[in-house]
């Protein structure tokens, strides 16, 4: 099992390197990217099955004692999120192959390998049991996304890329200072040891560490008021890149936020986190309502939805954290599908501005379905996964009797729906600027692959809805493991 974990981290990097030097031989890159991503998905599946039955897998890199070396830890939460993440990236890569060499696609020579580097960063961030390795993982993710965002060198991309780079670089600096604080006060950066030592620190110091990392991880997760980089940078990037970013990157932030704060017992920060969760929801959805462009609306929705996961964390109860985990799992494919549909719209109509498109429901009924189902899921309409995930969180909120956040969470659903209706009426109903002039592009051979990939992602998200029973059980077990840090510590140290 540990060999598989090792492969999972290193193989994407190796494949990326080969991809960089493959030059014009695009087929090499395709085989490499799809192959290694498919492999990663398979490994993630095996790991999940294994962890589910046998318990946490721990890899001591280089066979060093955890006090000295780095450990990679696959617990239930990691395995669960890992599988969804890998499958999502795979689907997006297939979409990207279909979209190759269009105005809306990324440069295939770079994007494939970069996506792999991003993948290895994501894997590392999910699995690492070491705070400094987490920093490295973040840097892997960030540097590959910086380049993915800006490599075409368009003006808008440079502008928004600058925002993205600057804010995240600042967060990285804060991360390093945070590491210094943690190391100075505990003498280690190993998460398991931290889970042991941080709770023993004086309250002020502990709170300070908790808040500091809330800022650091919160920037990655795009919570209020640190989200500004997201809606500026996402819409300008090529579709496939945005789809991965939207589906995955902020979730990495949320994931580590949950992991770190729950393991180190920061429950007294709960009220603050709940407040931030409420603000994140409201501001995010307000932003979505204010926008007039499909991709921008969707971008703001990411923020709003992050609020829900934060809400689960802020409750610091078993139900709340389980809710946050399943919400995370549900949200990755849903958001990805929506952005891919946004890409398809842009591809077909030449723009994603609402006032320039119209009547797509008639011309592209399949696209309408591909959009409608995840949109309903996002708005929390049953029987889609979003409904159950939200229900779980609201239920957890009621259980702990935190009325304001429950009210906000419910009201937010309506507003989410309003903005989805805005897209629906703008894009799929009505008529465009001038219907006869709307460019309907000639179907390229890759189009089928793009639609297919989107459909697969949608089916995956529907499958998540259908199998929510087992998923919830897993989520609950994962949350229980997280809340009871002794299990984690024991798995790593002994």
């Amino acid at each position: 099992m540990t060999a598989l974990v090792g492969l999972l981290v290193v193989v994407p990097m190796l494949a990326a390197a080969v991809g960089f030097v493959a030059g014009e031989r695009q087929w090499v890159r395709d085989i490499l990217t799809v192959g290694s991503l498919a492999g990663a998905t398979a490994i993630a599946g095996i790991l999940l099955a294994h962890v589910e039955s046998e318990g946490t897998v721990v890899l001591r890199v280089g066979d060093w004692d955890p006090e000295l070396g780095i450990v990679l830890v696959v617990d239930l939460m990691a395995a669960l999120v890992l599988l969804v993440a890998m499958a999502t990236i795979l689907v997006v890569q297939l979409f990207a192959i279909g979209q190759r060499r269009t105005a809306w696609g990324a440069d295939p020579q770079l994007s494939g390998p970069l996506l792999l580097v991003l993948t290895s960063g994501v894997v590392l961030a999910f699995l690492t049991g070491d705070l400094f390795t987490l920093f490295v993982a973040f840097e892997l993710i960030l540097v590959s996304s910086y380049v993915l965002l800006t490599h075409q060198g368009r003006r808008g991309q440079i502008r928004s890329g600058m925002t993205y780079v600057a804010m995240n670089l600042f967060a990285s600096t804060l991360f390093l200072v945070g590491l210094a604080i943690v190391y100075a006060s505990t003498g280690t950066v190993n998460l398991a040891l931290l889970a042991e030592r941080i709770p023993e620190l004086d309250d002020p110091l502990r709170w300070g560490i908790g808040l500091w990392f809330l800022v650091v991880f919160g920037t990655k997760a795009a919570i209020f008021p640190l989200f500004s980089w997201l809606p500026d940078s996402y819409p300008t990037a090529p579709t496939t890149i945005t789809a991965v970013f939207a589906g995955l990157l902020t979730k990495v932030g949320v994931y580590v936020l949950i992991r770190f704060h729950v393991l180190t017992g920061m429950d007294d920060l709960g009220p603050l986190i709940l407040t931030l969760a409420g603000l994140t929801m409201v501001i995010g959805v307000a932003g979505a309502l204010a926008q007039d462009d499909v991709k921008r609306i969707l971008s703001f929705h990411i923020i709003s939805q992050i609020g829900y996961m934060l809400m689960g964390l802020g409750l610091f109860t078993l139900a709340g954290i389980a809710g946050a985990i399943v919400f995370l799992v549900h949200h990755i494919p849903v958001k990805t599908v929506l952005f891919l549909v946004g890409g398809l719209i842009e591809e077909r109509e030449g723009t994603s501005a609402l006032d320039k498109i119209g009547g797509l429901a008639q011309r592209q009924p399949l696209l309408a379905v591909l959009f409608a189902l995840p949109a309903l899921s996002l708005a929390g309409i049953p029987p889609f996964s979003g409904f159950v995930a939200k229900l779980a969180l609201v239920d957890a909120g009621i259980e702990k009797v935190v009325v304001p956040i429950v009210v906000i969470a419910l009201a937010n659903s309506v507003l989410t729906l309003v903005s989805m209706v805005k897209i629906w009426t703008g894009v799929f109903w009505g008529s465009g600027d001038d219907e006869s002039a709307t460019p309907i592009r000639i179907l390229r051979p890759g189009h089928r692959l793009m639609v297919g990939a989107t459909a697969v992602a949608l089916i995956a998200s529907l499958a998540i809805a259908a199998s929510f029973g087992p998923l919830w059980d897993l989520g609950e077990r994962a949350a229980a493991d997280l809340l009871d840090s002794r299990a984690y510590i024991e798995a790593v140290v002994s």
């Binding site: 280089g62 780095i70 400094f132 892997l140 800006t150 075409q152 060198g153 030592r197 808040l211 049953p382």
Partner: protein, 750 residues
């Protein structure tokens, strides 16, 4: 289930023509099945667990009530599909037929649900499918706005309902309806109010009725279906199924009856004023729903019985009325009461349908509406005390107005206005037959009232056992108070209706506008908030971030321990530290790019020196090399730019300086607070480094062995950064062109 198959079948039809015929099969099957269960039979249940951990399940239970409602939903559904075939005449309607079918399936699910979550699921499903149906004419902005309004009101109500259900499940301890016992108490009251509000939104009760008239923008088959047997009845059904659980809560019947009667009155007034026949019917529906809501929440045995009877009667006559008006619409191109003329001669079938169905709505024998209305009046008579009198008065006035608007509608629609009679398109069987059938059913239902009773009573009894003894009476007898009240209502209503036939003053659609305005306001507010929060200006974002980080440090202040601190490790450190900070300030102050870059180099040198002092020669060496490269890169890379940095305004500069000082202080405080260093195990490290790492330079052993994974990541970061530099330098300049920033945007700059 058959509906799901139906949806798929319709969508996959190769040829659009028979869409409606195929779609019809599904409701036909379910109607037949439900009909077989009408006269008793076993209660059917089905359950499929979904998320056991959250007590979510698909659970159905088809008892007498479920069967009765299913017969209505599916039976009228069949007729609607026949009617739709005639109404549209042709064209590809597969999508429409499928949506209608999905809607009808959702409605069945709703009436059969035995689990609050299943109920909620189908509740929302009807909202969503009806949105699609109302917006069928998707290029018509009125239809789109109306669809949006309907969706928002019903979904917002749905979420209120969701909150109510969550509380209810908490109190009742189960999500299964048939297992819930009566609940009372504060929490139950909260649940009751929330559930009622949810029901009001769906059943178009004041003040949520605003979506319903607008929904008339839908094609008539949709209106006929949504507003007779289905959508709007969902709220009534909800109140019904919740009666055994929440009926004992004090506020339940008071709130329901008050809102119901007010709605009945207000809806009737609306119906009297409109000139569009379809809108008259729509407002009439609002009014009728008010009566049903009042009866259902009144909760006595007789009232529940009356409510169920009204549901049945209303479904039959209202569908017929809509279909007839729709037929007039498609054959004349108008629904305006003021302009249509001579239809009595040219459209006799529609005329008679309207007369019969109208009489049923007015509650005149020998039609099914009569005994149902009688039951309602009797139920009101049964109530005692002042509230009973009020209820009776309300029902009476409402009923008078009902008769009045019905009379007005029929008279005005079919009167000769002088001048040329309206031109009429050819007769279509499929468009007329269903309405004829339904209006005949009104008579048959009256004649067979005892049989109807046999179906209604068990259904009502599942909600309230006391409903068991009642019956629909064809002829209550001359000694019945209710009968005379009824007759008075008819007479009074007829007079008012006849008088009003020539007048119409369409009211402003105030309510509807309010919803739209609310939406617009929300959008404006959202824009405002977004404008404030998302300036689009990077420096502001960074200031916010720095401030957030500074705030995070506040707790640290409490844990600075002077004993852990010392001024400097070595005196040289102080000197070098001062140099570094001074050079850093120089970087900020020097206004030439090259000068600043050189100052940065000095900072780098100083930092290297600090490393050396601290005992970190590897760091010092690396830092030195890196710093050189960066300074050179700086000069080559940006040397071509104008030498001076732009200045900026005083205020913004002050903000920056303030933030900077705060951030610096924060970081210092955080470091000082975390000073209680737990000793790391240097001994163990040294031991393994030499024995297993094979080197004496501990830093290097850590980098290449102990923490080689970090180094691996680090070099990949380098590779990617380099690829980025290459890609950017090779990016085609022509592609990146774009208009310069417009002036107004420039003004927003800081």
């Amino acid at each position: 289930m058959s509906h799901l198959v139906g949806v798929v079948a319709v969508l996959s039809l190769p040829n659009p023509r028979p869409a409606f015929v195929v779609a019809l099969a599904a409701p036909l099957v379910s109607a037949a099945w439900a009909a077989s269960k009408l006269s008793g039979g076993e209660v059917d249940t089905a359950r499929l667990d979904w998320v056991e951990g959250l007590d979510l399940a698909f659970s159905f239970r088809v008892g007498p009530l479920g069967a009765l409602l299913a017969v209505l939903v599916s039976g009228i559904g069949v007729l609607i599909f026949v009617y739709g075939h005639g109404y549209f005449g042709g064209g590809d309607r597969r999508g429409f037929a499928a949506t209608l079918l999905a809607f009808s399936g959702s409605m069945l699910g709703l009436v059969w649900a035995d689990d609050v979550w299943t109920l909620f699921l189908f509740w929302e499903a009807t909202s969503v499918t009806s949105f699609l149906l109302v917006g069928t004419k998707s290029t018509d902005s009125t239809a789109v706005t109306a669809a949006r309004r309907a969706l928002l009101v019903t979904v917002a109500g749905g979420l209120v309902l969701l909150a109510g259900l969550l509380v209810l499940v908490d109190v009742a301890g189960t999500a299964t309806l048939s297992e819930m016992g009566p609940v009372t108490g504060d929490q139950a009251t909260v649940a009751a109010v929330l559930v009622l509000v949810g029901a009001f939104t769906k059943s178009a009760q004041l003040p949520f009725h605003v979506w319903l008239p607008g929904a008339m923008a839908a094609p008539t088959p949709v209106s006929a279906y949504l507003h007779s047997a289905t959508m709007v009845k969902a709220g009534i059904v909800l109140i019904g199924v919740m009666h055994p659980v929440l009926g004992a809560v004090d506020i339940w019947s008071g709130l329901g009856v008050t809102v119901g009667l007010l709605t009945m009155f207000w809806g009737a007034i609306g119906a009297l004023r409109h000139a569009d026949a379809k809108l008259v019917l729509a407002w009439g529906t609002v009014s009728q729903l008010g009566l049903m809501t009042a009866m259902m929440s009144l909760g006595s045995g007789k009232a529940i019985f009356a409510a169920v009877s009204l549901v049945v009667a209303h479904a039959v006559f209202k569908a017929a009325l809509f279909m007839a008006v729709g037929e007039i619409d498609i054959r004349t191109g108008s629904r305006d009461l003021r302009s249509l003329s001579g239809l009595r001669a040219s459209m006799p079938v529609a005329f008679w349908v309207m007369v019969f169905a109208g009489l049923s709505m007015a509650g005149v024998p020998p039609l099914l509406g009569f005994p149902a209305k009688e039951a309602a009046i009797e139920a009101s008579l049964n109530e005692s005390g002042a509230s009973g009198d009020l209820i009776l008065a309300g029902v009476t006035i409402g009923s008078v107005l009902t008769v009045a608007y019905t009379t007005r509608l029929v008279l005005a629609l079919f009167s000769d206005k002088g001048g040329e009679p309206t031109e009429v398109a050819p007769f279509r069987w499929a468009a007329a037959a269903p309405s004829v059938l339904l209006s005949v059913l009104g008579v048959v239902g009256y004649v067979l009232a005892p049989s109807v009773t046999d179906w209604v009573v068990p259904a009502a009894a599942t909600l309230e056992t006391k409903s068991a003894g009642y019956a629909l009476l064809r002829w209550p007898g001359l000694d019945s108070t209710a009968f005379w009240i009824s007759m008075g209502i008819v007479a009074g209503g007829a007079i008012i209706g006849a008088a009003a036939a020539r007048h119409s003053s369409p009211p402003e659609t105030v309510g509807a506008n309010n919803v739209d305005r609310l939406v617009d306001r929300t959008l404006d507010l959202a824009k405002w908030i977004t404008g404030r929060v998302q300036h689009g200006s990077l420096p502001i974002y960074l200031v916010v971030m720095a401030l957030a980080a500074s705030l995070a440090v506040i707790p640290f202040l409490g844990s600075i321990d002077a004993d852990q601190l010392h001024a400097w490790d070595r005196p040289l450190q102080a000197g070098m530290g001062t140099t570094v900070v001074a050079a850093a300030i120089a970087v900020a102050v020097i206004r030439s790019r090259i000068g600043a870059a050189l100052a940065l180099g000095v900072v780098g040198l100083g930092v290297s020196a600090l490393f050396l002092i601290q005992g970190a020669p590897d760091l010092a060496l690396t830092q030195l090399l890196v710093e050189t490269v960066i300074v050179v890169g700086f000069v080559i890379g940006l040397g071509g730019l104008t030498t001076q940095f732009p200045a900026n305004g005083f205020v913004w500069r002050s903000v920056r300086i303030g933030t900077a000082v705060l951030a610096g202080a924060a970081v210092t405080a955080a470091l000082l607070a975390s000073a209680e260093n737990t000793p790391s195990n240097r001994e163990a490290l040294v031991a393994v480094a030499v024995d297993e790492g094979g080197g004496n330079n501990l830093v290097n052993v850590i980098l290449t062995d102990l923490r080689a994974l970090d180094t691996l990541g680090e070099v990949v970061v380098l590779v990617v950064a380099a690829m980025g530099v290459l890609a950017l330098s090779r990016a085609d300049t022509a592609r990146g062109g774009g208009a310069p920033l417009s002036d107004d945007v420039r003004k927003g700059r800081r």
